[in-house]
Amino acid sequence: MRVAIVGATSDIAKCCARQWAARGAEFVLIGRNESDLHALAADLRVRSQGRVDVHALDLSTREGIEASVELGFASGPVDVALLAFGSMPSQAEADADPAVAESLLSLNGSMALLAAHLVVLRLLEVNGGSLVVLGSVAGDRGRQSNYLYGAAKAMVAAGVAGLQHRVAGTNVQVLLVKPGPTATKMTRHLQGDGPKLADPELVAADIVAAVAGGRAMLYTPKRWRYIMAVVRSLPRSIFHRTKL
């Protein structure tokens, strides 16, 4: 089993990779920070006893995304491609600097969808393999606290729906994952004494199972499917009175 991950050092990706490593997977890891990638690669080599390649790239440009997909597929057919890169600056940072808002929209939206699109073209060439895209429950309805991030994730969700339509009837799987708020590096500023965020290991276990099960959509933890059904259907008059 060969797994290519873009944004490999994200906590959810790391936990997924460890579970695949336990099954002896080989890896191509792509991300921004070279030393973080090498540290993860060493960890996965111990766990899987298999080959792990590493490429550090800037994922904020079209060239970087193209190179990522190229390198991800360079060492042979890919069974699972996981797109897990992204950023989540706070709404306040985005308010203060339009450049932050722009890069947030671009990285989480355009670049993520571009990568998904290029990966699916590759998978269709060999008529096999799985693409896993990390979306977010934030894409289900724009909320005052993170609508820029949510909008980018909504764009990815619409694009993935199109890709799923495109691969229908082939052996290619496209899975959109919508994790609820998860306790990761990206959300450290949200953690504290408040409600407990989801454990990335349990989120990863759900993702690995959904890939194996050939699913198209996954809310994880599962309760978010119902929470978001309610959030989506709240009338505006009530929704606007919440602080969400």
């Binding site: 973080d36 060493a42 111990v46 766990r47 590096k185 450290r188």
Partner: protein
Amino acid sequence: MRIAGWGRYPVIDAEVIGGSRVSDIQRAVRAGPILARGLGRSYGDSSLAARALDMTSLDRFLEFDPASGLLTCEAGVSLSEILRVFVPRGWFPPVSPGTRYVTVGGAIAGDVHGKNHHKHGSFGDHVERMSLVVADGSLLEVSRSQHPELFHATCGGMGLTGVVVDATIRLLPIESRNVEEVVIKAPHLSAALDGLESNADATYSVAWLDCVARGQHLGRSLVMLGEHARDHDLRRRRVTRAARVPIEVPGVALNRGTVRAFNWLYYERVRTSPTRHTVSFEPYFYPLDGVRDWNRLYGRRGLMQYQFVVPFATGREALPELLKEISRSGLGSPLAVLKVFGPGNQNHLSFPDAGYTVALDFQVSRRALELADRLDPLVLDAGGRLYLSKDSRMSEDTFRASYPRLEEFERVRKEYGAQGVFMSAQSTRLGLA
């Protein structure tokens, strides 16, 4: 953020700083007084500090050599993760404390012991080397040959010398995930001690002790011996999700009557002695890990553990006195444990030393604290001491009187600039600089 040890007593307000890179740790250390914290399984205040460094994101394996069993990993890797990855390959942690939810860094800091102490020593005895971020933020390679004094201060040093960021430990080869257990009934204390001492060649040995039994039953125990099985069963098991204690149980649930009833049932449940059976390693080594958040059974005020060791020379006389005092108090727990330790090691603040150790849980209360204050002089008179990883209440005088290498420890801390930088609520309470 409010943080506490496993006993949930005491609780303090802390700034919790995290990071997944060594450079994050170095930056945090340079910024002011701090203490590394792993999974928070020490019972009292030894992992508490106003600035706490959450080490659990430094959780990567770095290297494993299947020829020697040497594993190098970051300090935030838990024993649970080591078991998950390495048991199917035929390797086991060299020392297992009562829970697998401890980090390698925490196991080094507490120089933790397990049921094989009499044969294999404590965790630090299986550490080949480590990388330590010291007070000025630099990274030192520390082993028995490089900075040896710092090595012996750091193993068992409760995080007060620096931050362990990675370590190399020697894993134990096993042929099976199972353990062959023998349970022997010991109707009173000296039978229990004889049972443990006459089975010194068993790899693992421990006794569950009925600390409410009195009179001729004083010290009634089940002696449990164990060996790694040789049935070649290393298969991965489906992980069953642990049962949970969802809420704090009202404090009255553990009273004299329920503990007495539980202990009687626990002892009488074993019909024949000795009883032999084969069990999976999880229930054998980590029985309480099967119940998540079991500390909540002790109610809102939390739980304290009292663990002491007394030397062989005085132990046979001191133990009955200690047990009588405990039994008389009417307090006491269903979770008392008795074990024979082998010789201690060179580490300055390491707890285990040749003799008998007993660990007891109490619900935190004024009466329990008073009982502990009455037990302290009995332990000291016998030449014993208390385990820092369990302690939340001993006095500075008790500590100074019972840890003879304390001055050496403080001298090494001073030499490496650790004083005033690496401090815990416990170290402050115990008067360390």
